[in-house]
């Protein structure tokens, strides 16, 4: 009978680790060892692990001698695995015995299968795990989903269709010859799959291998953060580098398409979070790859809906770097007023005074005033009236023009 190594990296989350280990201890059939790689926890992780040894005789605990970088933690715990197969999983998830047994059965029967990919579902703490799995499966029903055994010739098809390819159960013997801990790279996604495929096939099965718990301590980063974007790009690109020679041309296109989609996703997220200039930037980055259809229409739609928001954000940036400011003087035009309203939501601490052009021209100079005006000639006219160059003035046209994406 073959054995499985369940490899769990952890750091300062003893209670989650305990929960997961107790869950695994209740497995009835699975022959497994559990390897815990402790990334220098400062909490009671070592004691918790000791206390569980009675329940889990095949538990191996390795404490890292120095804190590992994020990308190295998975590789570190897999490095010590001794089973025929390996499964690397987070401390806060729930590994599913039935799915793992199925994966092992497939690899026992088909020596050419190097890795098996099951499903995972998110558990929000409502109802039982079984209910989450059942709900997840019915939610997936009707959706076109890849299933079956795939060889290297299918690599691009999977890359094109699958959202991600995470949480494989894989052969240790193949892993040793195919995987390295890589910086700027999430382990075990497309690049990982490509590496497995150099040594055999992969299987995608409908069975659930993990229920992921959703909780407060999750340190989920934004996908548009530098390191996350770079990890995704690195994953796509290193995957692309691994496809066979005759598929290279298509691979380059597919890498580009996924890059664009990642940027568009970043745009969506930034927009939802009220970061409109960042959303604009990711839209532009996606457009830069020249593959999107109806570019002009897309841009027009984006500008139409978010122009006022973008201008308000640009005004807010201008305000932030030119403080101290006591009063925002806003010209009494509908466009300026609409921007000022959104600006005020970002900076409720400010005083905004709405005036017409004549009042603005007549107002005495103060370093503590910031002007936002509609009439593009006002800055020059005021400069002549007051006899003083003032940097703290912007027109609606300035900011609109700077925010525009295309001509």
């Amino acid at each position: 009978m073959s054995t499985l190594s369940i490899c769990i990296p952890t750091r300062n989350r003893a209670h989650f680790l305990e929960r997961h280990l107790r869950y695994i201890a209740a497995f009835k059939e699975l022959t497994c060892e559990v390897v815990v790689s402790d990334n220098c926890s400062e909490d009671n992780t070592p004691e918790v692990v000791e206390s569980l040894r009675g329940l889990l005789p095949n538990l191996r605990y390795v404490r890292q001698r120095q804190p590992l970088m994020a990308y190295a933690v998975h590789a570190a715990c897999c490095a010590l695995a001794s089973g025929d197969y390996i499964f690397a999983i987070a401390d806060d998830d729930f590994t599913q015995e039935a799915g793992l047994l199925r994966a092992m059965e497939i690899m026992d029967q088909q020596p050419n299968v190097a890795a098996v990919y099951g499903r995972w579902f998110r558990h929000h703490g409502i109802g039982t795990l079984e209910e989450t799995i059942a709900a997840g499966k019915s939610g997936m029903a009707g959706r076109d989903r890849l299933e079956g055994v795939f060889g290297r010739e299918d690599a691009l098809k999977i890359f094109h269709e699958a959202h991600t390819m995470e949480m494989p159960v894989f052969r240790r013997s193949v892993f040793l010859n195919s995987h390295l801990p890589l910086p700027h790279l999430l382990p075990f996604d497309f690049h990982g799959m490509g590496q497995f495929m150099k040594h055999g096939s992969i299987a995608i099965i409908p069975d659930c291998v993990v229920v992921m718990s959703v909780h407060d301590q999750q340190n989920s980063r934004q996908i548009y953060a530098d390191e996350i974007i770079n990890s995704y790009l690195a994953d796509f690109e290193t995957f692309g580098a691994g496809v066979p020679e005759e598929m290279r041309r298509r691979a380059v296109v597919e890498v580009d398409v996924r890059t664009i989609n990642k940027y568009l996703l970043s745009m969506e997220l930034a927009r939802e979070q009220g970061r409109f200039l960042l959303a604009r930037q990711y839209l532009m980055r996606a457009l830069g790859h020249g593959r999107l259809k109806d570019i002009r229409q897309r841009v027009r739609d984006f500008e139409q809906v978010y122009m006022t928001e973008m201008i308000a954000e640009a005004l807010s940036q201008f305000y932030r770097v030119t403080r101290p400011t006591d009063t925002i003087v806003c010209e009494d035009t509908p466009e300026c007023f609409a921007v000022a309203e959104l600006f005020f939501k970002r900076h409720p601490e400010t005083t905004i005074e709405v005036m017409d052009a004549e009042e603005i021209l007549a107002r005495a100079h103060s370093d503590l005033d910031l002007y936002f005006v509609g009439d593009p000639t006002l800055p020059d006219r005021r400069r002549q009236c007051v006899g003083l160059a003032n940097g703290k003035i912007r027109t609606y046209y300035n900011l609109r023009s700077a925010c525009r994406i295309l001509d």
């Binding site: 490095a79 010859n177 390295l180 530098d226 580098a241 200039l277 940036q317 403080r323 160059a389």
Partner: protein
Amino acid sequence: MGILSICIPTRNRADLLERHLRHIATFKSHKYEIIVSDNCSSDHTPETVETIRSVLPGLRYVRQQEPLLDHEVHSASCALATGDYIIAVSDDDVLQEAGLLRAIEMMDRDSGIVAVYGARFPYDGARGFEEAIAAGMARTPRTEGIFGRQDMVRIFKTEKHMTLPIFRRSVFLNSHLPIPHLLPFDFHGMARFMKFGNIAMIKDCTALMWPHDQQNSGIIYRDETINNTLSDVEMFVVDAPEDSTRDAVDTLGLRTVAHYLLCSDQASRDGKFLLSRQYFLRALGRMTDGQDIARSFQDSHMVSMMAEALSQFFQVTGATSVLICEDRADCRAVADKFAERHPDVTIRLMNGEDIVDRPPRDEELYFVGDATIPRRCRQRFGAAGTRIRALDNFHNACRLVDDPT
């Protein structure tokens, strides 16, 4: 002559700032506005600026109320400028008046020019500025010219960077935003200027770069530097004229590949061979050919990559302090490089049969040439026999290309 605003962001580098400001104070023409934007320095920057007021009466000092992000510091210093023209320059550079005057003159004369790009040369502090400029000009002479939008993609193909422009404030207000994940004023910045007119390139030196200890030159392969660079070139393409979009997109692909190869090169020079390999793979992922250069990369760096992989394995195995290496030339070559990284680790050479018979100990890690040894050890000692890797394991894991079949 139009007035130039010299905008200098700074943070905790009072001495460098003082050096630069004192140099600017020697400029003969009086058409300058100097703005220092202090990004919350905790050193004596405010006092330094005060003492310099006597030699630079027009100096304006703005202290930021909260620390700004990298991408905001340049635009923050430009935000308050009131001159006809602006140059945003770092506190540790040394502006050159002759070049600035030439740029101002050009824009005074030709209202179609919105930005002028001068030359920027390194300065080692050992000789005079003039000598450094002459040396720079002799080494990297540039062609002068005025370029419009039809030339955008050509510039994108030939120039490494387009930094340190002197530009019209009136255009800047309508064209530039502080953009995250982006260094200001490179290709995207140039494209924005070109929406409003031409740009000029001049051979004159506008600034010398004076290297120093406090330089935090972003290493090119860091996440944020990579993301900035990609952002800049991707956003540039959006502004390319429609009839040259295809050409711009192709150039973007080539530039991305070239940049990854540069990162790969830098990483290997820094002794980070697996990172170097990764950037090489990233370049390959965007190329339709490249198997040949990949093979030659593999040939030159394989031993170093394996040594680094062995080092990573060693680091994550807990309490190990001894490496037992099979006594054969290929393993020894890797172990020698491993020893450079881990001078504190004892390395013992042993033949294969002795390794198979030797009971595992917690402090020992094995590295062997005969690929069957790990299996034999594991059969004999079970889980305890897994702290062992064969050279083939690392060799296969480090490869970039498949064996020719």
